[in-house]
């Protein structure tokens, strides 16, 4: 065959039914799946921290710092999938120096920066300031210098100044809750406002994204807390675990009901796009039915629901929480996958499908996605080493 047309045949072998030429290859690949996934983890972990700080859920105290640091570590890489996806990655900063105020996509840099600088960094700083002053006195050499720089030269640890830290930290957490909603609601908004795509275009999208964000963030902190305790050979605080489990249960119900509402609405109104969407849902069997619904929602709901009424032995609960955290994390990943990839698999002519196969190499490949998911874990490890929550002097506060 003429090599000039070979690619055309290859491309056409991937499609089914009728599809417009620009729909054969997906424009948004696995990186764009990671982007809402990571920002969701950030927002969810932060909201879990604020449950302790603002809503005074005492049982969650042991994971307050861990949630904040987790949130921060993942926020550090939240922009990476987007930048790697750009056609001109080295020009990403132009988005900030030439702000486009009426483009929802262009404004992300500012939403992001607000959340990073004005919320997370400040909250962590106020929370750790006193400890950093103390540690800078105890440590030597480079570490001492690092702590000194981090305190920004404020060495006052008098009760009065610590009280100021506390009050400001509280205010920032209060501001942080709507900010976390903004950050992730925004991501849902981006998808929900794409009116050309019936699978995405829905007003409920930001809310669904927000609740799934909380679900995944809570599951992540649960997972990380158990791993850290295991590495440090510390006993897990069962009250804390049960409490996380309880919140995970409630929010998972909310999330599930919202998605159900969305689905029921689609089925009942049965708009012109309904036929193709119902076929799409059968095509997403592994990620939707198995991954998102069965493993990511039903099993966790059943187990967590059972724990609300009866408490089996600690060891069983521990193991269940651990498995559930992994299931939920996988389930929410599948949910992002179904939204982002699923939404591009069907033709806007409503008459055909294309297929998606992630490449292994390249900026948008599987490998770079794995790297992007590993980096925040390394950042978190470094942060936990630099700012160990278990060495803090005010563990009883809040």
């Amino acid at each position: 065959m003429d090599p000039n047309y070979q690619h055309l045949y290859d491309a056409l072998s991937k499609v089914e039914g009728y599809i417009y030429p620009n729909e054969i290859g997906l424009n948004w690949g696995i990186l764009i799946v990671l982007y809402p996934y990571i920002t969701g983890l950030v927002a969810g972990a932060f909201i879990l921290a604020s449950l302790n700080r603002v809503f005074k859920v005492k049982a969650l105290r042991p994971i307050y710092e861990i949630s904040l640091l987790t949130s921060f570590s993942f926020l550090c890489v939240a922009t990476m999938p987007l930048i790697a996806h750009l056609g001109q990655p080295l020009r990403f900063y132009e988005m900030m120096i030439t702000p486009h105020l009426t483009s929802a996509m262009a404004i992300f840099a500012f939403v992001y920066l607000w959340y990073l600088m004005a919320v997370l960094l400040l909250e962590i700083w106020f929370d750790y300031r006193k400890d950093m002053v103390i540690w800078s006195g105890e440590k030597k050499g480079v570490l001492r210098l690092i702590y000194k720089v981090l305190t920004l030269g404020v060495y006052d640890t008098s009760p009065k100044s610590v009280a100021v830290d506390e009050r400001l930290g509280y205010i920032i957490t209060v501001v942080g809750i709507p900010s976390a909603f903004l950050l992730h609601g925004y991501v849902g908004f981006i998808f929900g406002s794409l009116k050309a795509n019936p699978w995405w275009s829905s007003v409920i999208m930001p809310v669904v994204f927000l609740f799934s964000a909380m679900v995944s963030g809570i599951a992540l902190v649960l997972f990380i807390y158990m791993i850290i305790s295991w590495i440090r050979k510390q006993k897990l605080d069962m009250k804390c675990l049960d409490s996380i489990g309880k919140f995970l249960f409630y929010i998972l119900i909310f999330d599930f009901v919202l998605e159900l509402l969305d689905t029921v609405h689609r089925v009942y109104t049965a708009e012109e796009s309904f036929d193709i969407i119902s076929i799409l849902m059968t095509k997403l069997f592994f990620t939707l039915t198995i991954g998102q619904l069965l493993l990511g929602t039903f099993i966790p709901l059943l187990v967590l629901g059972y724990f609300q009424f009866s408490k089996p032995k600690d060891a069983i609960r521990k193991a269940s929480y651990f498995i559930i955290s992994i299931l939920v994390l996988g389930g929410i990943f599948c949910m992002r996958w179904n939204v982002v990839i699923g939404g591009q698999l069907f033709s806007k002519s409503f008459m055909g499908f294309t297929t998606y196969k992630a490449r292994l190499l390249g900026a948008e490949g599987l490998l770079s996605s794995i790297v992007i998911m590993i980096i925040p874990c390394l950042i978190l490890a470094a942060l936990l080493w630099l700012l160990p929550p278990w060495k803090k002097k005010n563990m009883e506060a809040y």
């Binding site: 089914e16 132009e94 120096i97 106020f126 100021v164």
Partner: protein, 179 residues
């Protein structure tokens, strides 16, 4: 004001200041010239090598082919879809018009003079266009494919369409395939 607040305000002020300075330096020079983008982007794109021409300009010299095409089934297809990008071809032959072409004194229309063309041995390869008379060239559009609608393009079974050893153009003149 508490000490940590003043310190933070200073740090933030420095940060914002640095941002503004960096923004002033990094902002592309031609930004905003016409709208919310780099004005130079347009010039850069305009400076790119041109590859295609409009279909009318082919008719200036090949009016017999374009007439054949106009009334036939392939009328909606651009010449360059089959023959490849024609800008260089156009330019070169426009410059060497008098060597290969004759003007009809009455109507002023130029036509290719095959005798002059055959005599010329020095037409550089890069200015020639494709003559896609192989079966594959037609089949990229006409082979059976479920993703294509029969209403838009008539499709044939390659293995079972009359004489499978012959080129399509032996039975279908490419510009007016059903004549």
């Amino acid at each position: 004001m508490p000490q940590q607040v003043t310190r933070l305000l200073i740090v933030f002020a420095v940060f914002i200041g640095m941002f503004l300075v960096a923004a002033a330096f990094l902002k592309p020079a031609s930004f905003g010239e016409y709208g919310h983008y780099r004005g130079n982007a347009i010039k850069e794109i305009a400076a790119k090598e041109i590859k295609f021409v409009d279909r009318k300009s082919c008719a200036n010299c090949h009016n017999d082919n374009s007439d054949a095409l106009a009334g036939a089934e392939h009328a909606l297809i651009n010449c360059q879809t089959c023959h490849g990008p024609g800008y260089k071809h156009n330019q070169w032959f426009e410059q060497n018009k008098s060597r290969f072409m004759r003007q009809d004194p009455a109507s002023g229309i130029w036509t290719v003079d095959t005798i002059l063309v055959r005599a010329a041995k020095d037409i550089p390869e890069e200015y020639k266009l494709l003559k896609p008379n192989e079966r594959d060239a037609c089949l990229k559009c006409h082979a059976i494919n479920a993703a294509r609608r029969e209403k838009v393009v008539r499709q044939i079974d390659v293995t079972d369409h009359y004489d499978v050893k012959k080129k399509c153009v032996e039975c279908h003149p490419p510009h007016a395939p059903n004549s």
